[in-house]
């Protein structure tokens, strides 16, 4: 299998450009926050943050369930 040529300089340039674009987006976001009412921006933020914590809670639950299932199986054996 032929691997692609990797031009590190090119990748560095893309990385820098992505970061610059991200900072620009951030400025637009702060401008929007300042104009929007607090309910609007905080509801959007809540959706992002709660989605993440719900994900981690269900992961914890499924990890525990799997651990419990392993324990029950071992006990039976």
């Amino acid at each position: 299998m032929r691997l692609p040529e990797i031009n590190l300089q090119e990748l560095e340039k893309i990385k820098k450009e992505n970061f610059r674009e991200r900072l620009e987006f951030q400025d637009r976001y702060v401008k929007w926050m300042k104009m929007a009412n607090n309910v609007e921006w905080s509801a959007a933020q809540k959706a992002i943050i709660n989605r993440k914590s719900e994900g981690s809670a269900s992961r914890t639950h499924s990890n525990r369930s799997a651990a419990h299932a392993r324990y029950v199986k071992r006990s039976k054996n």
Binding site: R22, D27, M33, N38, S42, Q45, K46, S56, T60, R64
Partner: protein, 200 residues
Amino acid sequence: MSKASIRLVKELNDLDKLVIDFVRILDRNKVKYVLVSGYVSILFGRSRSSEDIDIIVKKIPKRRFSVIWEDISKKNFECLVPDNFESAYDKHLMKQTSIRFSRKDHPIPNIEFMFPKAEDLDNWVLKNGKQVRLNRHALKISPIELQIAYKLFLGSKKDIEDARHLYKLFKEGLNLKLLSEFLLKLDKKGLFNRYLDETA
């Protein structure tokens, strides 16, 4: 934003609720604390989440810490690292290592609880913490000027974005002299000019 405090009314997310519940325990026990680092940016609307919330707590004697430990446990929190009181105080906090509290059975997000590590700086933060009135709840955060400079000092992309968010949001109300002094002390004037202040 006034010099003494910031008033913020918003819809509370899970991180806000975790912080409010935890600092209520500290307040009830009259323990001085200050919220620092990423959560300060998130509190003010940064569109990202975090796995931990950093909180610097004024050093307290072991006996007092045991009362707080009990209170924290009663309120459905648990210490993840370590899981016992003796080790938490003697082997972690007193050796400038953090301990982590989370809601029981939910290790993420968690509260990274620490006594002052960079003694002079952290004690300054504790003394000069800024009051935030979040809906009906009172919180103490690190001064925004220091947060901006310190985030630049940490220097990852996420940290630079956090610094920029705070700067753009609070620009008009900042103590620019204080910000400039912290930038000089942390040797981050260059990074500030490059990423935050386009006029430079």
